[in-house]
């Protein structure tokens, strides 16, 4: 009924394999996002979906559309290029923001900057974290 069923087997087999592997990678990344304990471990997990999962699904899409339209369809490369460029930027920005928040709150999950006393960090934490300043 769908145009997919007219696809020859030599194209359907790799496309099916790639789409299942890509979705499984995305699922593994999301389960990792759910299961890992701290934020700095969790920030690694979704990169499985954005690198391997995206590459597999886009390859399968390229195969399917190239065979269906009997010409080379490469516009999926646009998404691939865009995701490869933007994912490290967003995740590094997010990790830096999280590090900044943890440091201003004097959390014990991250190592503090080993700056001498009178650093801007100590002054910033002074109003509500008096006991943290006394430790220094």
């Amino acid at each position: 009924m769908t145009p997919l069923e007219q696809l020859p087997i030599w194209a359907a087999l790799p496309a099916a394999l790639l789409v299942v592997v890509g979705a499984a990678m995305a699922l593994i990344g999301s389960v990792g996002l759910l299961r890992l304990r701290s934020f700095y471990e969790r920030v690694h997990a979704p990169t499985l979906a954005t690198s391997m999962g995206m590459a597999c699904v886009l390859l399968a899409s390229m195969i399917v559309f190239s065979v269906l339209q009997t010409r080379l369809v490469l516009h999926e490369l646009l998404i691939a290029f865009f995701m490869i460029v933007t994912t490290p930027v967003t995740l590094m920005l997010l990790a830096r923001a999280a590090l900044y928040r943890d440091r201003t709150e004097e959390s014990d999950q991250v190592p503090l900057l080993s700056t001498p006393s009178g650093s801007p960090e100590a002054e910033m934490a002074a109003p509500d974290g008096a006991e943290a300043v006394e430790e220094r």
Binding site: T2, P3, L4, E5, Q6, L7, I9, A12, L13, A15, A16, L17, V19, V20, G22, A23, A24, A26, L27, G29, S30, V31, L33, L34, F39, R42, V43, A45, P46, A49, T50, G53, M54, V57, L58, A60, S61, V64, F65, L68, V73, H75, E76, L78, I79, F82, M83, T86, V89, T90, L91, L93, L94, R96, A97, A98, Y100, R101, T104
Partner: protein, 92 residues
């Protein structure tokens, strides 16, 4: 074996739906704001992959444009939220 690819796409869509449920759970239950933003970013990526599988299933390239827009909006929203997390603390 003509039904191989539709069955594979159905399985992939179920897995991607489950992945989106995991990300939604992290958005709802994230202990801190950065966990919620990370869950939202994962939700966007999984939604984009789901759009691509829908495009393959129905043999239409319109879903590709929707996936491209979802990818763009995910990048912009995650960057904006990360900047807000960084600057909101400074104002406090």
């Amino acid at each position: 074996m003509t039904a191989l690819l539709p069955a594979a796409i159905l399985v992939a869509q179920l897995m991607l739906g489950l992945a989106m449920a995991c990300a939604t759970f992290r958005v709802l239950r994230g202990p801190r704001a950065q966990d919620r933003v990370l869950g939202l970013d994962t939700l966007y990526v999984n939604g984009m992959l789901l759009m691509l599988t829908f495009g393959m299933r129905f043999g239409s390239t319109h879903y590709f444009e929707a996936a491209l827009v979802i990818g763009l909006l995910g990048f912009v929203s995650t960057t904006a939220l990360a900047k807000f997390l960084m600057r909101g603390e400074v104002i406090e």
